[in-house]
């Protein structure tokens, strides 16, 4: 059972690394925002996974709040890119 977690964490780590490459490479602000959006969702999943590994129910709340704040952050970025701010 533990191996599944190692494999899953490895996959997620590679996913985060690939998204981070896009985040650094750009080339436009929109591409970076897309990468940020992807990273947010991966991090929410990672937080839930850590909640299970450390057996802390409380971390799920943290994941939920992080999801909400990440979503609103991406909306802020999108509205800024749109020229509405």
């Amino acid at each position: 059972m533990t191996y599944i977690f190692y494999i899953a964490l490895l996959f997620m780590m590679v996913g985060v690394a690939l998204a981070a490459i896009r985040f650094v490479k750009g080339p436009t602000a929109g591409d970076r925002s897309v990468a940020l959006d992807t990273l947010t969702t991966i991090m929410v999943a990672a937080l839930v996974m850590l909640a299970y590994i450390f057996d802390r129910y409380i971390y799920l709340d943290v994941a939920l709040v992080y999801g909400v704040l990440g979503f609103i952050g991406v909306i802020v970025l999108a509205r800024y890119l749109e020229g509405a701010l």
Binding site: I58, D61, V62, L64, V65, V68, L69, I72, I75, V76, R79, E82, G83, A84, L85
Partner: protein, 231 residues
């Protein structure tokens, strides 16, 4: 005349507060191994609170929290003061144009849930790693979502300042009630209940709810002021 009354009231209040604080004797008590063990022990035995940080922030070191809340209040007031003149020149739009229909409907649907999440975080401040500051921030973020999606979303400045002021006043009143009953600022004077229940921890949840309201109102006011300052 009005100013005179205010000054007299403030002076009297200040005099009595100063006298009380002078008699307190800050720093007289000495603990041989620091205070950490006493905090840990008292949190469980006296306050019945699951979250030690909460009890330290709100009860043992409640006076510091008052200072933090004051800093936030001053920041909000200062920003309001700086942007005050320009705000009156600009119309009542928070963003230049409304978002698309999808974003608008989505934020309408999510807004109550985000507010509820914030309220959940600060009501459960003494049971989970949340608290007044965090919950208040989430509530303010919900308002940010609406202000970004709609160009004419209104938040009443009067209501915000009333909430803020009353929360601040009640914070200080509860603290002074601690003086009256126990001897230190924010000393617990209410029944503590059993651990891990919602109604437990005596005065801590009430203080956290007040802090939550205050932070939410302040940050919403800040966001509102900043977004309306343009053109």
């Amino acid at each position: 005349m009005k100013k005179f009354i205010v000054i007299i009231t403030l002076a009297t209040l200040g005099f009595y507060l100063g006298q009380t604080f002078y008699e307190l004797g800050f720093g007289d008590a000495r603990f041989e191994h620091g205070v950490k063990d006493i905090y840990l022990e008292k949190t469980v035995s006296e306050l019945h609170v699951a979250n030690t940080i909460t009890s330290i922030i709100v009860s043992f070191r409640g006076f510091d929290t008052l200072g933090e809340v004051t800093v936030l209040f001053l920041a909000a007031t200062a920003l309001g003061g700086i942007l005050y003149k320009r705000r009156h020149h600009v119309g009542d739009r928070s963003v230049l144009f409304s978002a698309s229909r999808i974003v608008r409907s989505g934020s309408k649907l999510l807004f109550p849930a985000v507010i509820l999440l914030g309220v959940y975080v600060f009501v459960h401040g003494h049971l989970s790693p949340g608290g007044g500051f965090q919950g208040g921030t989430i509530v303010a973020t919900g308002f940010l979502l609406m202000l970004l999606a709609y160009e004419n979303f209104k938040v009443s400045h009067h209501v915000l300042s009333y909430i803020e002021s009353f929360a601040g006043i009640f914070f200080v009143l509860f603290g002074l009630a601690g003086f009256y009953n126990g001897g230190t600022f924010l000393e617990n004077f209410m029944p503590v209940g059993t651990m891990n229940n919602l109604f437990s921890g005596g005065v801590i949840p009430i203080i956290y709810i007040l802090v939550g309201f205050k932070v939410a109102a302040e940050l919403t006011g800040l966001i509102y002021t900043v977004l309306h300052e343009k053109d």
